[in-house]
Subunit: 298 residues, 2 copies
């Protein structure tokens, strides 16, 4: 398979459709997989895929366009943000490596700083300091607190000037693995059970290394849900997550009644689950018929 | 996804490499997935994929070429056979339907009969009579018995003359679903257990509708294997096969210690297994990232 990067660029505009479509049109040479706007958040997630060079160029052009059409001084929304293009994460797919995603993050960050005058923080795998790995820490203070943050020597940006861009604020550019949103429904209406199981699964409270979890009430179904982000589904596979939910919920007599994958999931993540349950020996991804049909190989 | 057919054409030549490669070269406009030759069987399976029209044209041209390079009067091998191109099965993939595979089988059969003078039997889903569905029945008597078989009014060919082609014999052309070769290893060296479990699984002896099964000794591992062909893995999914092997073997205290998928498996077959074990609600194939990357859609 070819080297591909995914980019799930977060725009601080979720209401003005003409602005959003004008910005999306700039994404040339890549495949746009999804455009999801939220009016309450006043935010759009634009997901596209392509070669590292094409994804880097598209991310740069989108940011240049957004800088002209979005004025952060006018922006209000429920979601934390600090820039017109708020976050640009690059995700390695197929044979692309994390090193390549990091290289693209740095290259795009540098261009944003030098050519557009936008201060840039590198985050997650692309971070230059441990304190900048976590996006929530980087964005702390939001757009309104940017001038002070950028002036702090500890928060000198990785690229660009140490002051906010007049309209575009600042941008976080990073690299991370593909995350999977995975929810498990329990056959009880008792939220205490969901909270206890979520706590048992969550990395922060002693659970699985790459799981973020919270309890959700499914009022219509009279069920509760353990709603999770598996932030590295290659290291913490879905079967392990499900079986641990089953194990913890069984303690309270609550059965697993269903689960759901929200959005996209890489084939490799599903194959690992299949290998576990079927106890498969030596099963390779290229045994999946479709990988032969769609690959570039002859 | 586009409409695609797979063709796993069986050639009666597994020894002379130059003959095989000359024949394979004729396959233009399709993607050749695999060429597997067996010298003992003196036979080659040539697997290719493409649009219905491209696969039909390639199958015709390969047969025309094989008719010139293979002389069935000189052919000997361990595998039953009746023609230079012995079997041409068409398998619907993606959005192609069985009806389209059957239509291609009939069209290719007709051209083989009219343009090349080869007697053709339609088999499996393309069969015109129930007695011709099973390939083993169609091929009964092999090349050496062809002249007599074709002269029998009950075995008048579907296309072509009622006498063998001088060099190419006769060809079976059919349509069938994708089959999966699936083996389950048991933690015992007792062949009686494997035979009993194989009998319990096999459709012919009361097992699962689309399973063919036999017992195999894995001498080096001191294990036994239930070796299966799941001839319609869409109707009889792999999880049902595995769980039934577990259930039957447990009766004799033998655990399942592993399984293997031999060769290719369609993504849809794996997804059904994932849906079962993860108890997934409403999971669609287009949630697999790669289906978006490789599909023609934007």
């Amino acid at each position: 398979m070819p080297k591909l990067l995914e980019c799930a660029l977060n725009l601080s505009e979720g209401r003005r459709e003409s602005v959003i479509s004008t910005i999306v049109e700039v994404a040339q040479g890549v495949r746009v997989l999804d455009v999801s706007s939220d009016a309450d958040h006043n935010r759009t997630v634009l997901t596209f895929v392509g070669s590292p060079a094409a994804v880097a160029e598209a991310a740069f052009r989108i940011t240049a366009q957004a800088t002209e059409l979005i004025d952060m001084k006018q922006h209000h929304g429920a979601h934390p943000r600090m820039g017109a293009v708020d976050v640009i994460p690059f995700v390695p797919l197929d044979e692309a490596t994390m090193e390549e995603a990091i290289a693209v993050a740095r290259q795009v960050g540098q261009r944003l700083g030098e050519e557009l005058g936008i201060p840039v923080y590198l985050y997650e795998e692309a971070a230059t300091q441990p304190a900048r790995r976590n996006l929530a820490d980087v964005r702390q203070g939001e757009y309104e607190g940017l001038a002070r943050k950028l002036a702090d020597p500890a928060w000198k940006p990785d690229f660009g000037p140490p002051r906010p861009h007049p309209t575009a604020g600042a941008t976080a550019v990073g690299a991370r693995v593909f995350l999977v949103a995975y929810n498990v429904n329990l056959g009880t209406s008792d939220m205490d059970v969901a909270r206890t199981v979520a706590r048992a699964l969550r990395a922060r409270t002693g659970g699985l290394r790459h799981v973020k979890a919270l309890a959700v009430k499914l009022a219509e179904r009279q069920q509760v849900q353990v709603s999770m982000n598996v932030v590295d589904p290659f290291q913490t596979p879905l079967y392990r997550v499900l079986e641990m939910v089953k194990m913890e919920a069984a303690r309270y007599g609550a059965p697993v009644v269903g689960s759901e994958i929200v959005g996209l999931v890489p084939l490799a993540v599903l194959l690992e689950t299949t290998r576990y349950y079927l106890q498969l020996e030596g099963f390779r991804a290229d045994q999946v018929l479709e990988t032969r049909l769609w690959s570039g190989e002859q």
